[in-house]
């Protein structure tokens, strides 16, 4: 009980400022308790010493140095801003250059990957145009096509490529590379002449066997000896898909 009282009194004395008066209970306790009195005396003396440290004056040139510092900081801040701006621009340029390099690289890599693996073979085959038409696609389409003129020269390599397990894009690219071979020259075969005054619906449509075509070329004769050749770029009639499902329409055992 007494210990608690001593602690409380000491805490009270500790929290007071030196010039503040303590409570009567504390005064009474200090009168009775020698240990607390001694504690209080030492504590007061210590606080007086610490308090005597007082305030240290700033140097006389404090204001001048502060002025100089603020001025130099503001000017250096402006310099820092311009440097920051320049570094920002430089970073932007670097990023743009990197982006361009990366895009170019990606484009080149993509082109290389999409190039057909058997390019040399195709080139070799293109040098030998004696290759005859592959009978398979022609037979597959024969039942659904009414009397179509037979193509004279058809590249077999393009058919092989169509049957291969490649993407449609790579197939188109490959066909584009062998454009000279995959052509159908209909100039030598006769075709129905359509009169301009004749309505289109009444004229008979002439079917085209596009199963083995990459590029389609038609020669049109106006009947006076003037022939015009029309080249149509790569035409896709969904032949790949047709060939996959061709078994449904083809007679049995055709394949």
């Amino acid at each position: 009980m007494r210990k608690n009282t001593c602690e409380e009194i000491r805490r009270e004395l500790d929290e007071l400022m030196l010039d503040e008066t303590c409570s009567t209970a504390a005064v009474d306790h200090l009168r009775e308790c020698g240990a607390c009195r001694q504690f209080h005396e030492k504590q007061t003396k210590l606080r007086q010493i610490v308090g005597s440290l007082g305030t240290v004056a700033a140097p006389a040139d404090f204001d001048f140095r502060l002025r100089a510092r603020l001025a130099s900081e503001s000017s250096s801040a402006a310099t820092h801003f311009s440097l920051f701006e320049w570094s920002f621009v430089r970073r932007g340029l670097t990023a743009a250059a990197l982006l361009i390099v990366f895009a170019t690289g990606a484009f080149l890599v993509r082109n290389v990957l999409n190039r057909p693996a058997g390019g040399g073979e195709v080139a070799k085959q293109s040098a030998a145009p004696e290759v005859r038409e592959s009978p398979r696609p022609a037979e597959a389409y024969r039942p659904v096509m009414p009397e179509s003129p037979k193509p004279t020269v058809v590249n077999q390599a393009s058919n092989k490529r169509l049957q291969g397990n490649r993407t449609e894009r790579s197939t188109q690219l490959a066909l584009r590379n062998t454009r000279t071979l995959a052509t159908l020259d209909s100039a030598s075969t006769g075709a129905e002449v359509i009169n301009g005054a004749q309505p289109v619906a009444s004229s008979a449509a002439f079917p085209i066997d596009a199963s083995s075509l990459a590029t389609f070329r038609v020669s049109v004769d106006d009947g006076r000896g003037n022939a015009k050749t029309i080249s149509v770029p790569t035409i896709s009639f969904g032949s790949q898909r047709l060939m996959q499902h061709a078994n449904q329409f083809a007679p049995k055992r055709v394949w």
Partner: protein
């Protein structure tokens, strides 16, 4: 706030226009004026607080030149952050908080650098509390002023050995005579913590200064 380009733009003229800046002008009003570009107002703030702040940082760091530098840094920060100043606390609390943070940062930097200080020689090898290295001189002193000076030096060194968390509240309370409430706001802690830390700090000092008590 205007951007300074030359030194002379800061009107720290020793002869302030007293008709404009009354002594009764509050710190808040001075800072408001500083914010709107009045350099005289900032000069008045500096003149009000430069000694207090320099002294406080000096007591914290026990290095006068460093304390002057940090006091200047305190004012630079006040000037720079004048736009962001909020009037929720007293300006003295605000500036003391900046000064405390700077002083504590400096103390931590020193600790990292492991500067060899005179008090450092007497720190225990196990990392315990540093002991007062300056034993009392038992020879008779010729002048009572010398006794006081010696005692003040001793207590200053003893304060320098206190952990920073005890040092700041002790200085703010016993040297600067600030209230617990204000100290709590400056140190951003509770009043109870402040009281407890001050009590612990006095206990440490009593042990270190027993020869003088």
């Amino acid at each position: 706030m205007n951007t300074l380009t030359t030194i002379d733009e800061l009107g720290f003229a020793p002869a302030l226009q007293q008709d404009v800046l009354e002594d009764t002008t509050s710190d808040h009003a001075l800072l408001e004026a500083t914010r709107s570009g009045d350099q005289d107002a900032f000069a008045e703030l500096v003149s009000r607080y430069r000694n207090q702040i320099t002294s406080y940082i000096y007591r914290m760091t026990n290095d006068y030149d460093g304390a002057v530098d940090l006091a200047q840094e305190t004012f630079v920060r006040v000037y720079r952050a004048a736009d962001r100043y909020q009037r929720s606390y007293a300006f003295s609390t605000y500036i003391y908080r900046i000064a405390t943070n700077l002083a504590i940062s400096e103390l931590r930097k020193r600790k990292r650098r492991k500067l060899i200080s005179l008090t450092g020689f007497f720190q225990q090898s196990d990392g315990g509390e540093a002991k007062e290295f300056n034993p009392p001189d038992t020879r008779p002193l010729q002048d009572s002023d010398l006794v006081d000076t010696e005692r003040r030096n001793a207590v200053q060194r003893a304060i320098g050995t206190l952990p920073e968390k005890y040092r700041a509240p002790l200085i703010l309370r016993d040297v600067d005579g600030r209230s617990y409430d204000e100290i709590a706001r400056i140190l951003e802690t509770s009043e109870g913590t402040v009281k407890s830390r001050i009590s612990r700090a006095r206990g440490f000092l009593r042990e270190k200064m027993h020869a003088y008590l």
